[in-house]
Amino acid sequence: MIKMDLLKKTVKVVISIFVLIGIWELVVLTGRYEQSLLPSPAGVLTGMAELIKDGALLTHFKVSLVRFLIGYLAAVITGITLGLMLGWNKSVWSFIDPVVQVLRPVSPIAWFPFIVLWFGIGDAPAVVTIFIAGFYPILLSTVSGVGNVDTVYLKVADNFGIRQPQLLFKIILPAAFPLIANSLHIALGSAWVFLVAGEMVGAQSGLGFMIIDARNSLRSDLVLAGIIFIGISGLLLDRLIKILESGIKRQWGVSIEVRN
């Protein structure tokens, strides 16, 4: 049964990709556009091969991944730590909450002028952008996760004489974990989106830079090739954390539908 499902799914994916490429090719053939305005599928494919062969893709991808991991992990650590502290300390949070609510809807891109002024160019702007993109969802979910810990768990802990800091690690963090894990997943997606934007301003390397570089030399086939690579690696990262998320949840023994 599972094999059949997998087969069906693969067939669907293959069909949808081929239909998309078919339409694309059709538009290119009938429209006779300038190659730099709309590259053909074949052109993009050779572009992709070119990027892989000369090692440019791997170099840029590695740089991007390192920046991404630093920015994302920094967001995870500060988001969860601050979230635990502020979620527990409701009176302090009530002062900070309004500030966060104002800052949260601001796109990290809006901070670019300051980011470049404060952090210069190079790796830092991209890392800071990723950090900003990932930080808010993690912070807010952790705070609400801590605030929504079932009171029965707190009563049980109180009854058995479990005090801080044990309370935090034994009860609150694990109880809030499903919400936090969910936000880690969401934050990963938005951080990856802003990675590319971050690398388009100050950086001289990375996937975002690769696209800007290709545009500057009017190689739209390479631009599109870069976009496809970013999409694929983003998808792979998303799948990776999904597996991690469900694995940890299973080990936690959390399944929401059985709890009443």
């Binding site: 768990y153 009563k155 049980v156 009854n159 004489g161 479990i162 044990q166 109880a175 023994g253 709890r259």
Partner: protein, 257 residues
């Protein structure tokens, strides 16, 4: 007396509704090793009273003394068992039972041994590595019982512990609780709204009525254990409880039977 409750009241202030008396001037004495059922409809303050005894909440006026000391906060000497079990879903059965032992100064090995002993006592040894969500409601409540007993409290406070179970499981859990009570000699205060459950389990039934919540009367159940749920004596006491709640038709109608 072991537990003595004197003129204990609990009032809440609700926005828009003003002052609400959840519990009014309760007086109750409980002896060591006694099995007490607090019986009444929802809103009669039975859970409020249990929370006061547990120390999760404080009375507005009056006081509760246990072994001569006024209750101000929760203690490992009196463990509460909740209707929804209060098990930690991210811990296995064994680790759940170990939870209460973790704040005691004993070795990891000893802790495991004690936990396993109490899991054995409730008959769940085969399930010690399962997670709570993999167990039925009755089994989960057994885990909660094992966890409570493992820290060797003098008093068990049970807040409608069988309320979420089906009727059959409920009766077998009543047997189980009675067995554990007789073997371990705990003082138990058991909140329920099930009349037969109270008659089956209690040495004394404390009958409570609502708005405001207060104690109406206390009925002694003078039978030996294990009680026969369909025996004539049992039904007589049950009838008395029904009468207390004015749920029984008046006497004249009985002549027609």
């Amino acid at each position: 007396m072991y537990i003595s409750i004197k003129e204990a009241s609990r009032e809440y202030y609700l926005e828009g509704k003003g002052r609400i008396t959840a519990l009014e001037k309760v007086n109750l004495e409980v002896g060591k090793g006694e099995f007490i059922c607090l019986l009444g409809p929802s809103g009669c303050g039975k859970s409020t009273l249990l929370n006061l005894i547990a120390g999760f909440d404080k009375p507005t006026t009056g006081f509760i003394k246990i072994d001569g000391e006024i209750v101000t906060k929760p203690s490992e000497n009196r463990i509460t068992i909740f209707q929804n079990y209060g098990l930690l879903p991210w811990r296995t059965v064994l680790r759940n039972v170990e939870l209460g032992l973790e704040s005691k100064k004993i070795s990891v090995k000893e802790r495991r041994r004690v936990a396993e002993e109490y899991i054995e006592l409730v008959g769940l040894s085969a399930y010690k590595n399962h997670f709570p969500t993999q167990l039925s409601g009755g089994m989960q409540q057994r885990v909660a019982l094992a966890r409570a007993l493992a820290v060797e409290p003098e008093i068990l406070l049970m807040d409608e512990p069988l309320g979420a179970l089906d009727a059959m499981t409920r009766m077998s859990m009543q047997d189980e609780i009675e067995r554990l009570w007789q073997e371990n000699k705990k003082t138990i205060i058991f909140v329920t709204h099930d009349i037969e459950e109270a008659v089956f389990l209690a040495d004394r039934i404390v009958i409570m009525t609502s708005s405001p919540g207060k104690v109406k009367s206390v009925i002694k159940v003078p039978f030996a254990r294990k009680r026969n749920r369909t025996g004539a004596d049992f039904l007589k006491i049950r009838d008395r409880v029904f009468a207390e709640f004015e749920l029984k038709a008046s006497d004249e109608i009985e002549y027609y039977l």
